[in-house]
C-alpha cells in the first residue's frame, strides 16, 4: 500500500476579490481573500498555486472586517487538478493521472488542510468564523474540520473521479463592527492511500497464424471480479478505439467497428487489415475510460515465438482457400498484471481449463517487478486453412 497526494494546480472559481496582502488597502474592503505569502514571498496567484507544493508554507487567507456595519463574507474557492499533480509515496516529482501505474486503485482519499489552520475569529464579539472543505462544488464537509474523507460506498471509487472532482474551501464569516476576522488555511490538498491491484488475463488469438481477420479474445480472470473490461475505451468518436496491438515500434489501432464482443469479463476484437503477421511479441494495450483506471495499460503480451506462417508455399489451381503453416502454433500468455504485491498471486487452476489442449507451461519469466509472465504453448505443428480474404474489384467510373 502506498500514499498519494494531489496538489491542486489552478483556481477555477471563487476567491473574489483576490488581493495581494501587501497591495490591498486595509479598511477599504470588508471581505476579501488574500495570499498568505509571508512565508515564501509569492506575489501572484500562479506563484501561490505553485507554492502549494511547498506545504504548509503557503495558503489562502480570508479576511473580513466590520468597519462600518457588521459584515458577512461567504465565498468558496474551487481548485482543479491537472498535469503532474499527483505525488506518490512522498515523491517530490508529480505524475499525470494517465501515468499512474497500471492497476492503481485508491483505498482511501480525503480533502485535507494542514490542521494548524490559523483562525483569528472574534467569537466574543458575536461574530462567526467557519470554514468547510469541499469535494465537488457544494459538497461541504463538517464545519471547521480539517479533513473531509471520501466514502467509496457511496462515491465513485476511481482515481479519475477523485482527480476530476477537484476540491474546494468555503469560508463563512460574520464580523461585527470594528472586529476583524481572519482565517488562513495551509496545504489544501487531497490525500489518500492506494494499492496496485492484480488482475490476470488470457489472450487467445484465433485462428492462427494471427493475421488480418483473426480474432483475439481477452478474458478477465480476477481476482475477485477482475478488471471490468467494459470500462475500456472502445470508441474515441473517430472510428478508433483505445485498444492497440503493438509489434515493436508499430502500433495497430483496433477500429471500434472491429470490436465484436464487449462485456465485463470478455473482449473480442478483430485484428485489423493493416496488421502484418509477425513472429515478434505482440502486446495488447487498452485505455481505461477512467472508471477503474485511466491512461493506457498493457493487457499482456502474446508471445508469438512459434507463431510462424513463413515457409514454402505453392499456388494450387482452383483452390479456394489459403493453407498456412502454423509451426508449433502459438504461445498464449497469462499475464498477471499489476502484481507489484510481494505476495504470491495464487493462480486459480481453472485458468487452465479455458485453454485448449494440449498445452503446457513452457516458461515462467519475471519480466519486471510488476509483471509475471506465464507462457502456455501448444505443442503441435499444424496447418491453418483460411479463406481468401480482401477480394475486391472496383470498376472504372461509370458516371452519373
Amino acid at each position: 500500500m502506498g500514499t498519494f497526494t494531489i496538489i491542486p494546480t489552478s483556481l477555477s472559481s471563487g476567491g473574489t476579490p483576490f488581493f495581494d496582502l501587501f497591495t490591498e488597502s486595509p479598511g477599504s474592503i470588508y471581505g476579501y481573500w488574500y495570499y498568505t505569502s509571508e512565508f515564501n514571498g509569492v506575489k501572484t496567484l500562479l506563484e501561490l498555486i505553485t507554492s502549494l507544493v511547498d506545504l504548509p508554507f503557503s495558503g489562502f487567507s480570508a479576511f473580513s472586517e466590520g468597519l462600518i456595519v457588521p459584515t458577512t463574507f461567504t465565498d468558496t474557492i474551487r481548485l482543479t487538478n491537472s498535469g503532474n499533480c499527483i505525488f506518490l509515496d512522498g515523491s517530490p516529482v508529480g505524475v499525470n493521472i494517465n501515468s499512474l501505474p497500471t492497476g492503481f486503485t485508491p483505498l482511501t482519499a480525503s480533502i485535507e488542510i494542514d490542521p494548524t489552520i490559523d483562525i483569528q475569529p472574534d467569537i466574543a464579539g458575536g461574530g462567526v468564523c467557519e470554514y468547510f472543505l469541499q469535494k465537488l462544488a457544494g459538497n461541504n464537509g463538517t464545519a471547521n474540520t480539517s479533513s473531509f474523507p471520501y466514502d467509496f460506498n457511496t462515491e465513485a471509487h476511481t482515481m479519475l473521479a477523485i482527480h476530476n472532482n477537484g476540491l474546494g474551501f468555503k469560508v463563512h464569516m460574520v464580523a461585527n463592527l470594528g472586529i476583524a476576522q481572519i482565517q488562513t488555511i495551509f496545504g489544501l490538498r487531497i490525500e489518500g492511500t492506494y494499492e496496485i491491484q492484480s488482475f490476470s488475463f488470457t489472450l487467445n488469438p484465433s485462428p492462427l497464424p494471427l493475421r488480418p481477420g483473426s480474432q483475439i479474445l481477452v478474458t478477465s480472470v480476477g481476482p475477485d471480479s477482475g478488471l471490468n473490461l467494459s470500462e475500456l475505451v472502445i470508441d474515441n468518436g473517430d472510428g478508433t478505439s483505445g485498444i492497440n496491438i503493438i509489434v515493436g515500434s508499430i502500433s495497430y489501432n483496433i477500429p471500434s467497428s472491429n470490436i465484436v464482443e464487449y462485456t465485463s469479463t470478455s473482449l473480442i476484437f478483430i485484428v485489423p487489415s493493416s496488421f502484418i503477421p509477425t513472429t515478434q511479441d505482440i502486446e495488447v494495450t487498452v485505455e481505461g475510460n477512467g472508471t477503474q483506471f485511466s491512461g493506457s495499460m498493457s493487457l499482456g503480451i502474446l508471445e508469438i515465438l512459434n507463431e510462424d506462417a513463413s515457409g514454402i508455399y505453392r499456388i494450387v489451381k482452383n483452390k479456394t482457400s489459403d493453407t498456412f503453416y502454423v509451426k508449433s502454433a502459438f504461445v498464449s500468455v497469462i499475464n498477471l498484471l499489476f502484481s507489484s504485491s510481494t505476495e504470491l498471486f495464487v493462480m486459480n487452476d481453472d485458468i487452465f481449463d479455458i485453454q485448449l489442449n494440449p498445452y503446457r507451461i513452457i516458461e515462467s519469466e519475471v519480466l519486471s517487478e510488476e509483471d509475471d509472465l506465464f507462457l502456455i504453448s501448444e505443442l503441435h505443428t499444424v496447418t491453418s486453412d483460411v479463406g481468401i480474404s480482401n477480394i475486391f474489384a472496383r470498376t472504372g467510373f461509370v458516371g452519373t
Binding site: 480474404s389 480482401n390 472496383r394 472504372g396
Partner: protein, 506 residues
C-alpha cells in the same frame, strides 16, 4: 435485363481487362478496374478469386523464414535451393528435394541476407551476398571475406569453389628405361576436384631429364581434402636458359601421367616427348584459388560469370569454358565502366551477354578470346534492373524464346536487345512507380508460359500477377495484385508450371 431510365443508356460491362492504375482514376476505362485485389483472370474477359496456396513441404519441421528460392535442376529432378534466416540471424541454405526430403543446411553464413545461384552440370554454384547502404542507396554485392561455393546436389555441405594448389617437396629421379627430350624441365602437379576443377600447378621442381630414361616422382603431395580425386603431372618443355622463376614458364599436362586418387605419393616411370605436350595448363597458374563472392551469377557460353564482388562492384569474373571454377584473375575479368552503381544482373540473350546495373545495360560478346578482351557495347544508359529483376523462365534462368522480361524503374519491360516501349506494365504505371526504388532488390519475377502469367514479388510482400492469355502486349496483359496475409518475398517456377512462393518473417 438492366432497367432503363429516360435519357440514360445502360452500360454493359462484359470484359474485365485487369487493373488500370495510370493517371486519374476517373479516367479508368470501363473494362478495367481502378482497383482490385486477389482476383485472377479467366478466359478472355472474366475474372474470379485468385487460386489459393497450399503448403509445399510435408515434413515435421518445414523451413521457416524463407528469404530466397531458386530452381535447382539436378540429374534426378527439379528441386529447390532455399535460403532461410535462422533464429540466430544466420543465413542458411537448404536443398528441398521434394515435399518430404530436405537437405541442409548446406551452407551457413552470418550476414547472408541473399544469394545468387546458378545450376551447372547437376551442381549448384552459390554466391552469398548482402545489401549495403552507401550514402542512402542500398546496393547488393558479395559479402566481404566470402566466396563462391559449389554444392554437389547430394546433401553434403557446399564447399568453396576452386581450390588451392598442392604444396610440398617433390622428389624427382630418372626412372626405368624410357624416353624424354633430354634437358632442363620444370615439373609440378595439378589437383582435380570432385567437380572437375583443376588447381594451379603446385609443388614445382626442376629436373634435367635424360634421353633414354623415364622420370619417376616421389613425395607427391596429397591434399588431405576429400574433394580432391586426381592429381595430374604437368611439365614444361625443355628450358635452355632457366631464369630461376619456376612459375614463369608454360606448363602442359603430361599425357598418361595422372594419379587417380589423393593418397599415393609416387608416380613412376613417366615417358614423354616435348611434342606430346599439347594440353596447356598455364592458364591455371592465375586462377583464383578461392573465388570472391558476388551478387549475380549466370552462365554464358558454358562459362560461369560472377558479378559485383565486395571489393569491386563494376566487374564480372568469367570462367574458362566448361570449367566454372577456373577463373583467371587477369584474363577472366570483364568490367563495366564504374559509375557508383553496382552490376546487378547478367543474362545471355541471342548469343550476347547482357549486363545490367540498376539504370544501365551493356552487352559483351564472346570473341573466342579471353573474356578481358570481349568488346563492350552500351545498350541503354537509362534502363537496367535489380538483382532478381530478370524473369526466370522454368529452369532456364532467364530468356524465354527470344526475349527477356525485365523489371526496370520504368516498368516491367520486354527486352529483345533493346527495351521495348511501351512497357508491359504501361497500364499500371502509377502502381509500379509507387514502389520504393531503394527496395527493388526484393522484386523477383518469374514467367510461367504454360499459365501465360507473370508473377512479380513486390517489396511490400504482395505478388503482382500479369495474365497475358489475351496477348503479350501492354494493352492486352491483365494485371492484378495478390495479397496473402503473409510476407511473400520470393517466387520460383518449378516442374514446368508449379509456382512456388516463399514467405519470411517480419
Amino acid at each position: 435485363m438492366s432497367p432503363t431510365y429516360r435519357d440514360h443508356q445502360p452500360i454493359t460491362i462484359d470484359e474485365f481487362n485487369g487493373l488500370w492504375n495510370r493517371g486519374d482514376a476517373d479516367n479508368t476505362p470501363l473494362d478495367h478496374f481502378q482497383d482490385c485485389n486477389n482476383v485472377k483472370y479467366k478466359g478472355s474477359s472474366s475474372f474470379s478469386t485468385r487460386d489459393g496456396i497450399g503448403i509445399s513441404q510435408d515434413v515435421a519441421v518445414p523451413l521457416s523464414n524463407v528469404i530466397r528460392i531458386y530452381n535447382y535442376p539436378t540429374y534426378y529432378g527439379n528441386t529447390l535451393i532455399v535460403l532461410v534466416i535462422n533464429e540466430a540471424g544466420v543465413g542458411e541454405i537448404h536443398h528441398v528435394v521434394n515435399a518430404t526430403t530436405t537437405y541442409g543446411p548446406l551452407l551457413s553464413i552470418d550476414g547472408m541476407t541473399d544469394f545468387a545461384f546458378v545450376p551447372y552440370a547437376g551442381r549448384g554454384y552459390i554466391s552469398p551476398f548482402g545489401t549495403f547502404n552507401v550514402g542512402g542507396l542500398n546496393i547488393e554485392k558479395g559479402l566481404e571475406g566470402e566466396f563462391l561455393y559449389v554444392y554437389a546436389g547430394s546433401g553434403n555441405p557446399a564447399r568453396k569453389a576452386a581450390g588451392s594448389p598442392l604444396s610440398g617437396s617433390l622428389t624427382i629421379a630418372n626412372g626405368s628405361a624410357g624416353f624424354t627430350d633430354p634437358g632442363f624441365h620444370i615439373f609440378a602437379f595439378v589437383a582435380e576436384t570432385i567437380s572437375g576443377y583443376l588447381t594451379a600447378p603446385g609443388a614445382m621442381k626442376s629436373f634435367p631429364t635424360s634421353a633414354l630414361s623415364s622420370v619417376s616422382f616421389g613425395n607427391v603431395p596429397t591434399s588431405g581434402n576429400p574433394i580432391i580425386t586426381k592429381r595430374h603431372l604437368v611439365a614444361t618443355k625443355v628450358i635452355t636458359n632457366f631464369n630461376g622463376d619456376l612459375s614463369g614458364y608454360q606448363f602442359f599436362f603430361v599425357p598418361n601421367a595422372t594419379i587417380n586418387n589423393d593418397t599415393d605419393t609416387f608416380l613412376n616411370n613417366i615417358s614423354f616427348f616435348d611434342a606430346d605436350l599439347l594440353d596447356d595448363a598455364s592458364h591455371l597458374i592465375d586462377n583464383y584459388a578461392s573465388i570472391p563472392a558476388g551478387a549475380a551469377l549466370t552462365i554464358y557460353h558454358d562459362r560461369l560469370c560472377l558479378f559485383t564482388t565486395f571489393d569491386d562492384i563494376s566487374i564480372g569474373l568469367v570462367s574458362a569454358i566448361g570449367e566454372p571454377e577456373a577463373i583467371d584473375q587477369i584474363s577472366g575479368i570483364i568490367a563495366v565502366p564504374p559509375d557508383g552503381n553496382p552490376i546487378t544482373n547478367g543474362q545471355e540473350l541471342r548469343d550476347l551477354l547482357y549486363v545490367t546495373k540498376r539504370s544501365r545495360t551493356v552487352s559483351f560478346i564472346d570473341n573466342n578470346d579471353d573474356p578481358s578482351t570481349w568488346p563492350i557495347v552500351t545498350v541503354d544508359t537509362a534502363l537496367g534492373t535489380s538483382v532478381h529483376g530478370i524473369a526466370t523462365v522454368l529452369d532456364s534462368g532467364g530468356s524465354s524464346v527470344d526475349y527477356l522480361i525485365v523489371c526496370t524503374y520504368q516498368g516491367i519491360t520486354l527486352f529483345n536487345g533493346r527495351f521495348v516501349i511501351p512497357e508491359l506494365s504501361w497500364k499500371i504505371e502509377d502502381f509500379w512507380r509507387s514502389l520504393d526504388r531503394n527496395e527493388f532488390r526484393h522484386i523477383q519475377i518469374v514467367n510461367a508460359p504454360i499459365q501465360k502469367e507473370i508473377y512479380v514479388v513486390l517489396p511490400n510482400g504482395n505478388v503482382l500477377a500479369g495474365n497475358y492469355a489475351n496477348g503479350f502486349d501492354p494493352k492486352k496483359i491483365r494485371w492484378g495484385p495478390w495479397s496473402y496475409g503473409i510476407n511473400i518475398n520470393t517466387v520460383a517456377i518449378h516442374n514446368i508450371d508449379e509456382i512456388i512462393l516463399g514467405a519470411n518473417l517480419l
